[in-house]
Symmetry: C2
Subunit: 367 residues, 2 copies
């Protein structure tokens, strides 16, 4: 693995010291911050998410805060999903699009009060975007990056752990709903959320100076359930069919191509950015689709930086946008962003690492 | 040094294979791409830039292309610098600002023809920004990312090398001016430019499939001048006083605070984004300034991810935004983003790595 050279362009998170103490060995960068990706025991870290409970520094999921009299109006202008019934305390997964209907992020929107929202973003700069739209339309709203950093608790034992710390009320929390609370004086928002399909919560730390304290409290409380450090896991997320914005999408991808059409409401007002383009794309039908790709062979692949071309009957039909060895399926799997003319069970050829590999298109998720 | 976990969110450059063959050992990420930072011989790589000629993969300096009937209009709207006299073939360094006058990037603008411009950007997403402004104002212009990837040739021997390959006309090229040409059939733009003060050129490769070919041609041609692989060098750039957008700036930094006021033309039209705020800031006077910081002690510091607080007479007056061991000054040096009340020769205290270090404010550049 290559090294990552330190630079103040890449900010550490409030949980950085805690993850150093846990023995972090590798990072990725995301929203100009460092995110831990490994603590040196990849197999153990995977099964911890599947079988017990794992603690993740996901402070890189930054918040774009919209605040002021026009916050609700700006939120709807940015989101091609109907927010008119969104309640305070509710979160919603929203594909953000540009004026051409191209996906530019897929945040969770959290409605904190009638004049304050957070977009808990994936890896692209939505502060610039939201500020540009707000300023050009003359809206009375402040767009900022508050001191808020999520810590994820993921896995089948997460609920029992979080209930033991915060109380049984957390068991009633619906998916993406949240509650403002505190823990031993540390202010936070507790949400049922997280970038895995194993269940869990995110604690949105609201005081960056308390990162190590919060980490240690959860680490200690989680001992009875076998908690340990982890990170968003490429294997688990691909098995589970979760999109990685910017990894599985490119500069022309629209939401319909990557299974996000169900989060688009075409009846939202005409001033919503991209809605006219999305109506047109939906009417014409998307040209690509996202399917699972199950590769032949039993030699575990390694993670890579590239997309890989997919061919069918000698013609290029799309790209394999990620590829990982599935520890539960014992096969190499990935997502294909392929022509709409392709179908499940099609046999294809993936050009990967300089050689063709046979593969089959399948439904997502894998598991 | 920590590892960097591969992900298709982080794209390799067209020169990736060539840098692998050269023995690259470390990367940074920049505009969601990998940029080599070391080939394992830091001292040798530094002196190569200072004394001879160095070859850098700077494909991460992506191009935001503005093309169409309103391209000139959009370029001026985005840039608070007077472009009315900018000629085809000319480049200009331009601080881009948001509506509040906050610096959001500091690209080189290249005027390719009357309807086509490139913004050769630093590390922030200007495609989203430019598209938002263009669409909201109803301009007839296409904003795209063309297949263009710069390769830098930097150092005092760069001109002799580039002249030997392209001809003596390159000696007449003025700083930031450029010329569209080709090399053994490889299309490129040749510019006098580069992120060092040692002189040099950038070859904007216009066909991503030819990265290894271009690298190898220049590598071979440079042998008489002792060429070797390198990268934008933190030590050289700090000694030379070059700004790193996002590293030396934050979410409130305006151009006047970081020595870019000379690139702002306050008389540009009122519809230029941020110009009203910049006029106000200039009239009121910037609250911070960027000065050199010369630290005491002769133990070489290591590169880090953090800013470090600067104190004067017991009060916090700003931050040290970078810090490096200067191989020419044999001192630890860095940039201070400090209160306008500070002055050159002030004695300050830097809180770095958990301990106070005495330091002196000095003029930039250091060398």
């Amino acid at each position: 693995m290559f090294g990552i050279t330190p630079s103040s362009r890449l900010r550490p998170s409030p949980f950085y010291e805690a993850t150093l103490a846990e023995g972090v060995t590798a990072f990725t960068t995301y929203n100009h911050m460092l995110m831990p990706t490994s603590f040196g025991h990849p197999e153990e870290e995977y099964w911890r998410i599947i079988n017990s409970v794992s603690l993740w520094d996901v402070a890189v999921e930054r918040q774009v805060q919209l605040e002021g009299p026009d916050a609700t109006r700006l939120a709807q202008i940015l989101c091609p999903r109907d927010l008119s019934k969104c309640k305070v305390g509710q979160g919603k997964y929203v594909p953000l699009c540009n004026h051409d209907g191209v996906l530019i992020n897929d945040p969770i929107l959290l409605k904190l009060d009638e004049q304050r929202y957070w977009l808990s973003i994936a890896d692209s700069n939505i502060w610039f975007w939201a500020r540009a739209i707000a300023a050009e339309r003359g809206l009375n709203v402040k767009v900022s990056e508050p001191d808020v950093s999520p810590l994820a608790i993921q896995g089948p034992k997460a609920e029992a752990l979080v209930a033991s710390v915060f109380g049984d009320w957390v068991r009633e929390l619906k998916y993406f709903w949240f509650h403002q609370t505190e823990l031993q004086g540390i202010p936070l928002v507790l949400a049922r959320s997280g970038w895995s399909k194993q269940g869990g919560f995110e604690l949105y730390l609201m005081d960056g100076s308390k990162g190590t304290a919060l980490w240690n409290i959860v680490r200690e409380a989680g001992k009875p359930w076998g908690i340990g450090p982890g990170a968003p896991n490429p294997c688990e997320r691909i098995e589970s069919g979760l999109l990685s914005y910017g990894g599985d999408s490119d500069d022309t991808t629209n939401p319909f191509e990557v299974r996000l059409g169900k989060y688009i409401d075409l009846h939202v007002p005409d001033d919503v950015v991209g809605i006219q383009a999305l109506r047109r794309i939906q009417a014409e039908g998307a040209k690509r689709q996202q399917l699972g790709v199950m590769l032949e062979g039993d030699k575990p692949t390694e993670l890579g930086f590239h997309w890989h071309a997919i061919y069918k009957d000698g013609h290029r039909v799309g790209d394999l946008t990620n590829c990982v060895w599935s520890r539960r399926l014992n096969r190499n799997i990935g997502f294909g962003l392929v022509s709409s003319a392709c179908a499940v069970d099609d046999q294809v050829i993936v050009h990967k690492d300089g050689q063709p590999t046979s593969a089959r298109l399948v439904n997502l998720p894998f598991i």
